[in-house]
């Protein structure tokens, strides 16, 4: 096997450098986001998050079948007096396949006698190789505690309001493809 040594390899159109190494992040992508303040008072029932956080349309198409996927969720969660406990489940499916729950789940507990205080929750999970170059879809579902499980997504206020998104905060899902 021959070896070519060169300082750089560029494409002719614009002289941009080309390269790839094992472990490199081949693509980083925001696959879903939701900006509206959202309330759900279903307490102890499991439901999908609103918009493309939960409707199953958010996906990423790996360049290589042996790549691994680094999943990250960033959710903006608010409290209303007195406490909230929210549990989130994460799922993927390959193409038109079935949803598979993976261990990217996370939770949030808040306790405060104020409305509108909020926390940004970030959770990351490194999936194994899914052996596919088909689009991999993701979604998040939520179930609340039976006594304090209301969900207040994207709600936040520094003045005690129990509604609205003062900081125009955003909840989102991101996926990074890691080369193997």
């Amino acid at each position: 096997m021959s070896t070519l040594n060169t300082e750089k390899i560029v494409r002719p159109a614009d002289d941009r450098v080309l390269f790839r190494k094992s472990g490199a992040i081949l693509q980083a992508k925001r696959i879903a986001y939701y900006t509206t303040a959202y309330d759900n008072t279903s307490q102890n029932s499991l439901f999908d998050l609103p918009g493309d956080l939960g409707d199953g349309t958010a996906g990423i198409t790996p360049y290589f079948s042996n790549s691994r996927l680094l999943f990250t969720a960033v959710l903006q969660l608010a409290n209303e007096t007195t406490w909230r406990a929210n549990f989130f489940r994460t799922y993927y499916k390959i193409g038109s396949g079935s949803w598979v729950q993976f261990n990217g789940g996370f939770s949030s507990v808040m306790w405060s006698n104020r409305n509108g205080v909020a926390r940004t929750i970030k959770s990351t999970f490194y999936l194994g190789s899914l052996n596919t170059t088909s689009t991999v879809y993701f979604k998040i579902s939520q179930i609340g505690h039976q006594s304090g499980g209301y969900l207040h997504l994207n709600q936040n206020s520094t003045s005690g309001s129990g509604s609205g998104n003062q900081g125009s905060c955003l909840s989102a899902m991101y996926v990074q493809e890691v080369s193997q």
Partner: protein, 182 residues
């Protein structure tokens, strides 16, 4: 040294090597490890590199995107605090500061009568600046009308209101440039 120009480099199985849409091509990290306290609830800049507007990444093309990952270590002093962190960017040294709401985040702590606790809060955001050159970033904070102030990196296990970073934490901002073909 020679320069080789090509549209594609593939291995023997036909897999393409090289940058593709989404590839991270550079990472910059900024951190603050001192402690910092501010009272009040008006919007102010974060201390030092987190808020002075000198955190920068230089994009190689106006096609490329920026990914931000931040961790803020928010300390607590009797009894509670709530902070709204806002993020701003500026295109070039002479540009104007623009709020990047996609990255804004909140944190709060509430333990009656307790000091020295701390919460680590992180975010992630991606955007298309449509700009080649230096892009600057800064963070501000706004406290709750009724909560205590900002206690960056303040943490101890002795229930004290002390300007001490007992656990050697850092508040950080990481900027990555994401390649885009077009």
């Amino acid at each position: 040294m020679a320069t080789l120009k090509t549209n594609n480099i593939s291995d023997l199985s036909g897999n393409q090597y090289g940058f593709r849409n989404g590839t991270i091509i550079q990472v910059r990290n900024y951190m603050y490890t001192d402690t910092h306290f501010r009272n009040g609830n008006s919007e102010e800049r974060m201390p030092n590199i987190l808020g002075n507007g000198l955190a920068v990444i230089t994009t190689h093309s106006n096609k490329n995107h920026i990914m931000l990952e931040t961790t803020i270590q928010s300390g607590q002093v009797n009894t509670w605090t709530h902070m709204l962190y806002r993020f701003y960017y500026k295109l070039g040294e002479g540009g104007s500061w623009t709020q990047w709401t996609d990255a804004n985040m909140n944190t709060y702590q509430w333990i009656s009568g307790v000091s020295g606790g701390m919460r680590s809060t992180s975010n992630m955001a991606i955007f298309d600046p449509n700009y080649q050159g230096n892009i600057y970033f800064r963070i501000t904070f706004s406290g709750n009308n009724n909560g205590d102030g900002l206690h960056i990196n303040k943490c101890n296990s002795d229930n004290e209101d002390a300007a001490r970073n007992e656990f050697s934490v850092a508040s950080t901002m990481t900027l990555s440039e994401i390649w885009q073909d077009s």
